[in-house]
């Protein structure tokens, strides 16, 4: 007799989705399906539009990572016109982007990840949120979380024209530059980011690493998945969020491939499953072997942890120190523990903060050369950046007047679709078995498996449902409902 447990919708997740857990007759987990609705028709929507409109349009694909889409799109339209922006423009884009990473990583850690660790994964659900975190760590820290996040948004608004609906990028460059007064202001704020990132890592060290149960959960809990790791790296194979080549390492840390954006189709393919709207990318040279992990699997991860696995280090000194410490504590590279993504995310927060300071003190950042001329006939272009939740690819094809004929996107979370399914299955199999009561705490611990990915699904919509039930249905094999658990936050 198979039984089905459903978690729908998922809490503390951008967008909405459903988890179906199918039990075997003996009460163990047989399979887990992670289903998400997906926004439809973007390619059609873009057809016939001037390609230079796309960087502004794509900021509305996602209310959480509009800056990521704007950057990938900006790079794609540069490529469509066959130009490179001047150094000042590239640095201004990257400076905006680092502020975007700062705000996003702060939000994820304190609002999504910290409740599980600071409050506890099986704590009462009324406390398992940012309010519970504030109650534990103090109002002053809560105020600082909001303040630092707001400051990062201010930098985004200054450089991008708007904190969310960014209008910064044009083909070949950016719309406006930075005055010396603005530069100095950002420099001061960047120093504050560094201090806050160091403080956040200290919280992780004291609260998570200082608790042997949490360390055990990270190292030996049902949250490990041995997969290839993907991330963008610079010419020295150091982590870079804005530019470089995509590098993939295998489960032992050896380079599997490294490709320029325009070659992505030679290395990544996408697969469709009948039970999910979202596609499943995989490594083309290995091929699709199913939802399995291991060196011979074509499934890969593109996450903060994957980025650190795929690189040879961080390009800034403080982040490099934390990078080395993380891998030393976790037993060397590469690390395959899903929950270690939270630690990697904080290392990236520190890198983003340091990079903000580096860029804001770069002599070229106040330069006046903001755009390259466009001598070429537009054609086709690919832009790749690292979104906070994975490698983001924008690919546009235009006619010779720059009107879009076709657009293709592989968004950050899509890279991890297969890995998320597998992480959920592994967590469920480790936590649910015969005789185990499926409590709210157990369900939350299963959800921890996907929250670590900081996934982002269908996040651009804003419709109220009237209520937010999370219904867990346990059914007989014939579908008869034997138990229903309703979760409300």
């Amino acid at each position: 007799m198979k039984r089905r447990i459903t978690i729908d919708p998922i809490t503390r997740l951008e967008g909405h989705g459903k988890i179906e857990i199918f039990l075997k007759d003996d009460g163990d987990v047989e399979n887990v399906y992670f289903q998400v609705p997906e926004l439809r028709g973007f390619e059609k929507f873009c057809e016939g539009r001037p390609v230079e409109e796309l960087p502004q349009i794509v900021t509305k694909i996602c209310g959480v990572c509009p800056g990521c889409h704007h950057m990938a799109s900006g790079k794609a339209i540069d490529a469509v016109y066959g130009v490179e922006p001047p150094p000042t423009a590239k640095k201004l884009r990257e400076l905006f982007y680092m502020a975007h990473f700062v705000h996003s990583h702060i939000a994820h850690f304190y609002a999504l990840a910290a409740p599980d660790f600071v409050v506890g994964p099986t704590a009462a659900k009324a406390e398992r949120n940012i309010l519970g975190v504030i109650n534990k760590v103090g109002v002053d820290i809560g105020t600082e979380v909001i303040r630092q996040r707001r400051i990062a948004q201010e930098i985004q608004a200054l450089l991008g024209g708007h904190q969310t609906h960014v209008v910064m990028n044009i083909p070949g460059g950016v719309r406006k530059g930075l005055t010396e007064e603005q530069r100095a202001d950002i420099e001061g704020k960047a120093k504050g980011f560094i201090d806050f990132a160091k403080f956040s890592l200290k919280i992780f060290n004291d609260v998570v690493l200082g608790n042997k149960d949490y360390v055990e959960l990270i190292l030996n809990g049902p949250y490990s998945l041995t997969l290839h790791s993907m991330g963008l790296v610079d010419e020295n194979n150091k982590v870079n969020f804005y530019d470089g080549k995509v590098r993939v390492v295998d489960t032992e840390g050896n380079e599997h491939c490294k490709y320029a954006p325009e070659d992505y189709r030679d290395f990544v393919a996408e697969r469709v499953e009948p039970w999910s709207y979202l596609k499943f990318p995989y490594l083309k040279k290995i091929g699709w072997k199913g939802f399995v992990d291991g060196k011979d699997s074509g499934v890969y991860q593109a996450t903060p942890l994957a980025r650190l696995n795929a690189a040879d280090g961080m390009a800034t000194p403080l982040a490099q120190t934390e990078y080395e410490r993380m891998f030393e504590v976790l037993g060397g590279k590469p690390v395959h523990s899903t929950l270690a993504m939270h630690w990697a995310r904080l290392v990236e927060l520190l890198y983003s903060a340091e990079r903000c300071l580096e860029l804001s003190t770069d002599p070229e950042i106040t330069g006046k050369d903001l755009r390259s001329p466009l001598p070429n006939i537009p054609n086709e272009g690919v832009g790749i950046v690292e979104a906070q939740r994975g490698t983001l690819t924008h690919h546009y094809i235009t006619d010779d007047k720059g009107m879009v004929l076709k657009a293709n996107l592989i968004v950050g979370t899509t890279n991890n679709n297969a890995a998320i399914c597998m992480s959920l299955k592994k967590a469920a199999q480790g936590l649910i078995s015969k005789g185990v009561e499926v409590t709210d705490g157990i369900l939350n611990m299963i959800e921890m498996a996907f929250r670590a990915y900081d996934p982002c699904f269908s996040c651009a919509t804003h419709s109220l449902p009237g209520e937010m039930p999370m219904i867990v249905n346990i059914r007989e094999k014939d579908g008869t409902l034997i138990r229903s658990v309703i979760r409300r936050n």
């Binding site: 926004l39 028709g41 959480v64 994820h108 608004a157 200054l158 936050n489």
Partner: protein
Amino acid sequence: MDPQPGGIMPAGKNKILILGIGNDILTDDGIGPRLCDFLRERFSDTVADFEKLNVGGLEVLEFIDGYETVVIIDAIKTVLGRIGDIYLFTPDHFKETLHISNLHDTSFITALKLGRSLEFNIPGRILIIAVEIKEDMVFSESFTSELAERYVEVQENVMQHLEYLVPELSRPPERSPLQVN
């Protein structure tokens, strides 16, 4: 009031904020921003600020900080509702919301509680006007035909509700004794 260069939108010159939340390239999800534009033309911007947002949660908190009254206009999808129907809520009606909520940090209700615990200037009066929609998962700059057919009616219904719930919107702005015609 547009965001100030270099900064998050500060508390505006008025005490009332009309906030249209939604995505205007996702078919009916654009109802909030479209109604905000409509209301901006019908009411004076000397008595209220009008803003459109594509976010929720903590970012909404940052926008409403400092106002006395905030009216949020958003879309809703219920099981039995008729496309174009209007619903009125206050935050007390929600144990949890999904999408005023829609951010990868926290829900709107949790954000309000957080704001109060951190002693933000949370508006004393928060009203939510929700419009029943059909489609929010397909890219389009137009409404579905079902919502489009009732849109004029929706506009008038929202206007009437606002005039009743926030009568200050309809009062002429107070004039300084020093102001001349």
